[in-house]
């Protein structure tokens, strides 16, 4: 058992921390307030390899390992949860399924631009009547002989409208339930594909979420991803990778709020002494630090297992459950310990608390995580 990061992982963390502090933190408040996609960050992150970390160099990836990848998402999310999720969604839910299930032609066509950040990727599974219950999706793909015709609507799609490449799930045979779902690669500009309502969200406001609308959308035959009827597997396996990213995002938000609170408690004086001299508060910080570190170990273990090619579905679910609930717990306390200042937008903990909430919901709610974990216990 080895709990020490490799030299590469340490260097990646140090580089991303520097990048996050210099390039991401200065605009974090602004992109939240204006609900603006930070394209300038993507433009800078691409050449550094941050848009394609755990992917082979052959397709434009950086050739990094999954532990370094989650560390990078964690460091970005310490200062900006929006930036963390933009990059994780792009990597785990768009580039990863293309890398894993794509044909050589698809990989060569889509990955080089995605992995270098020239294009942004997104993922479309959720629908108004199909959230956690993916089997209920109503978007239909009909084989028209020389092309597929898609009709339906996807909602809450992260980077919807901003992204150029989408991995979208559609029903090709309703009678087969989840075995009737197929994955497709959809490109911005395809005939019949448009962006609908843009959501006004509580948090991660720099990561735009929008509706994807397919009205007799013409999709070339070669854009079917993986096998016919195997879309559910594409989606679920991509979400396993996505959960590592969301856990990392949540962990980063928790650590960021924790660090802010430590600094605040050292400088803020009440009743003649700094806040950290009050044992009730200091003990609470000890509790937070312990939960953060425990969550971090779960996450790094899950990432390490994926890197080694070992089963990691349960570990990723445990990491996501622990990291996201820790993020909500820590950010809520962080706001509390900042008192009135925590509730106003002058301090970042207000934004961090709003950003934390979604980590308990998307890419599988905490309840779905418990279904995955308990399903394994009682299998």
């Amino acid at each position: 058992m080895n709990f020490s990061p490799t030299k590469q992982q340490e260097m990646v963390r140090r580089m991303v921390r520097e990048f996050a502090v210099n390039e991401v933190q200065p605009i974090a408040e602004e992109i939240d307030a204006e609900a603006r996609f930070p394209q300038e960050t993507i433009d800078k992150a691409g050449p550094l390899g941050l848009m394609g970390m755990p992917f082979p160099e052959e397709y434009g990836g950086a050739g990094a390992d999954y532990v370094a990848y989650v560390m990078a998402i964690e460091e970005l999310s310490k200062v900006c949860g929006s930036t963390g999720v933009i990059i994780q969604t792009h990597c785990a839910l768009c580039a990863w399924p293309i890398m894993t299930y794509g044909t050589e032609e698809q990989k060569k066509k889509y990955l080089p631009d995605l992995l270098t950040g020239k294009k942004v990727g997104a993922f479309g599974l959720t629908e108004p009547n199909a959230g956690s219950d993916a089997a209920g999706i109503q978007t239909r793909a009909v084989d028209m002989g020389d092309h597929w015709r898609l009709n339906g609507t996807k909602i809450f799609i992260s980077s919807g409208g901003v992204a150029d490449t989408y991995v979208v799930m559609a029903m090709t045979d309703k009678s087969k339930g989840t075995k009737g779902i197929t994955a497709f690669i959809i490109e911005k500009g395809m005939k019949g594909f448009s962006i609908g309502k843009k959501e006004n969200k509580m948090g991660i406001r720099g990561s735009l979420a929008a509706e994807l609308v397919f009205e007799d959308c013409i999709v070339p035959k070669e854009n079917l991803l993986g096998e016919l009827g195997k879309g559910f597997k594409v989606a679920m396996s991509a979400l396993d990778v996505g959960r590592l990213g969301i856990a990392a995002q949540a962990l980063g938000i928790a650590q960021g709020a924790f660090d802010q609170t430590v600094a605040y408690m050292k400088s803020r004086k009440q009743f003649g002494k700094p806040l950290h001299k009050f044992q009730a508060l200091a003990f609470e910080m000890a509790e937070m630090a312990t939960r953060i570190e425990g969550s971090r170990l779960l996450l790094y273990k899950a990432a390490d297992r994926r890197q080694k090619g070992l089963p990691s579905t349960v570990e990723a679910a445990q990491a996501k459950l622990s990291c996201s609930e820790t993020a909500m717990y820590v950010t809520t306390k962080a706001v509390q310990f900042h008192g009135g200042y925590g509730y106003i937008k002058d301090y970042p903990v207000e934004r961090m608390m709003r950003d934390a909430k979604i980590t308990e919901i998307y890419e599988g709610t905490s309840e779905v995580m418990k279904m995955v974990i308990s399903g394994d216990i009682f299998k």
């Binding site: 030299k7 260097m11 990646v12 580089m15 550094l48 050739g63």
Partner: protein, 262 residues
């Protein structure tokens, strides 16, 4: 083109600890980084390489074995090769002795067109090693370089002065020292990090560089640190309260007179 960039590993903190006996820095336990001005020097070399891909960049440093970490950072940023001069005989060198060792290292490398160094290191703040190195190697030098251009043959630089700048054209081989205004150093790309960690760093001892042992190390250094200390922090400033600007100005003038400043 062949470029040598001289770099230094420096402590990454304002809370450096000082050896009370020797008066030198205690480096153990203090995180180390690439000296800031040296990062600018390396960045400029990398920009030449971006433009002329057949450029070969060697980073050179003198220091303890831990300095390899900083050299790995330089390789991750894009340098081709890294050389560490490391030997107990070189320890405790002042600027004169350091430039003797570096000059010997550069003579061993042999072939180069351009040497870049940072203006000065944040630990010693002497700004002497670059110029000394140029003198010992018999090279033309320009210090405080804030702008650099290269047309494939000649180099034109702007040298920062306190109240302006000089434009200087020079031919290679030469030595330039960089200041932070020169550029913004790049981040280490992820791919560069993974590649750098697999690269070997060349380590040369005093014998390898054939340096005169009477001209390196603590004993040979003509500079003696008399005393190092942390300056006492300034006391709290005085805040002047007043009802109007006139009132504030009156109080300020009275204070300045009281202290015989005006």
């Amino acid at each position: 083109m062949k470029i040598i960039v001289c770099v230094k590993q420096v402590p990454d903190t304002n809370e450096v600890k000082i050896d009370p006996v020797k008066g030198t820095l205690i480096r153990d336990g203090v995180p180390s980084i690439l000296n800031h001005d040296d990062a600018n020097a390396l960045e400029e070399a990398l920009r030449i390489k971006d433009q002329y891909p057949d450029t070969h960049i060697t980073v050179l440093t003198m220091g303890p074995p831990q300095a390899k970490d900083m050299l790995t950072d330089c390789l991750a940023m894009g340098a081709d090769e890294a050389i560490l001069l490391s030997d107990r005989a070189l320890g405790g060198s002042d600027t004169w002795a350091t430039s003797n060792a570096l000059a010997a290292g550069i003579r061993k490398i042999g072939d180069f067109d351009l040497i870049f160094a940072g203006r000065q290191a944040i630990d010693g703040d002497t700004a002497q090693v670059g110029p000394q190195l140029a003198e010992k190697l018999g090279l033309p030098q320009v210090t405080y370089v804030k702008e650099f251009s290269f047309n494939g043959r000649d180099i034109t630089v702007k040298r920062a002065l306190e109240d302006g700048y000089e434009v200087i054209q020079l031919q290679m081989p030469c030595l330039l020292t960089a200041i932070k205004e020169l550029n913004k150093p790049r981040y280490m790309p992820v791919k560069g990090i993974y590649k750098a960690c697999e690269k070997e760093i060349t380590v040369w001892n005093a014998k390898d560089i054939n340096v005169d042992l009477k001209k390196v190390g603590l004993e040979a250094s003509p500079t003696n640190v008399h005393r190092s200390f942390t300056p006492a922090p300034k006391g709290k400033g005085i805040m002047i309260d007043g009802d109007s600007p006139k009132d504030l100005a009156d109080k300020l003038v009275a204070k300045l007179k009281e202290k015989h400043i005006i």
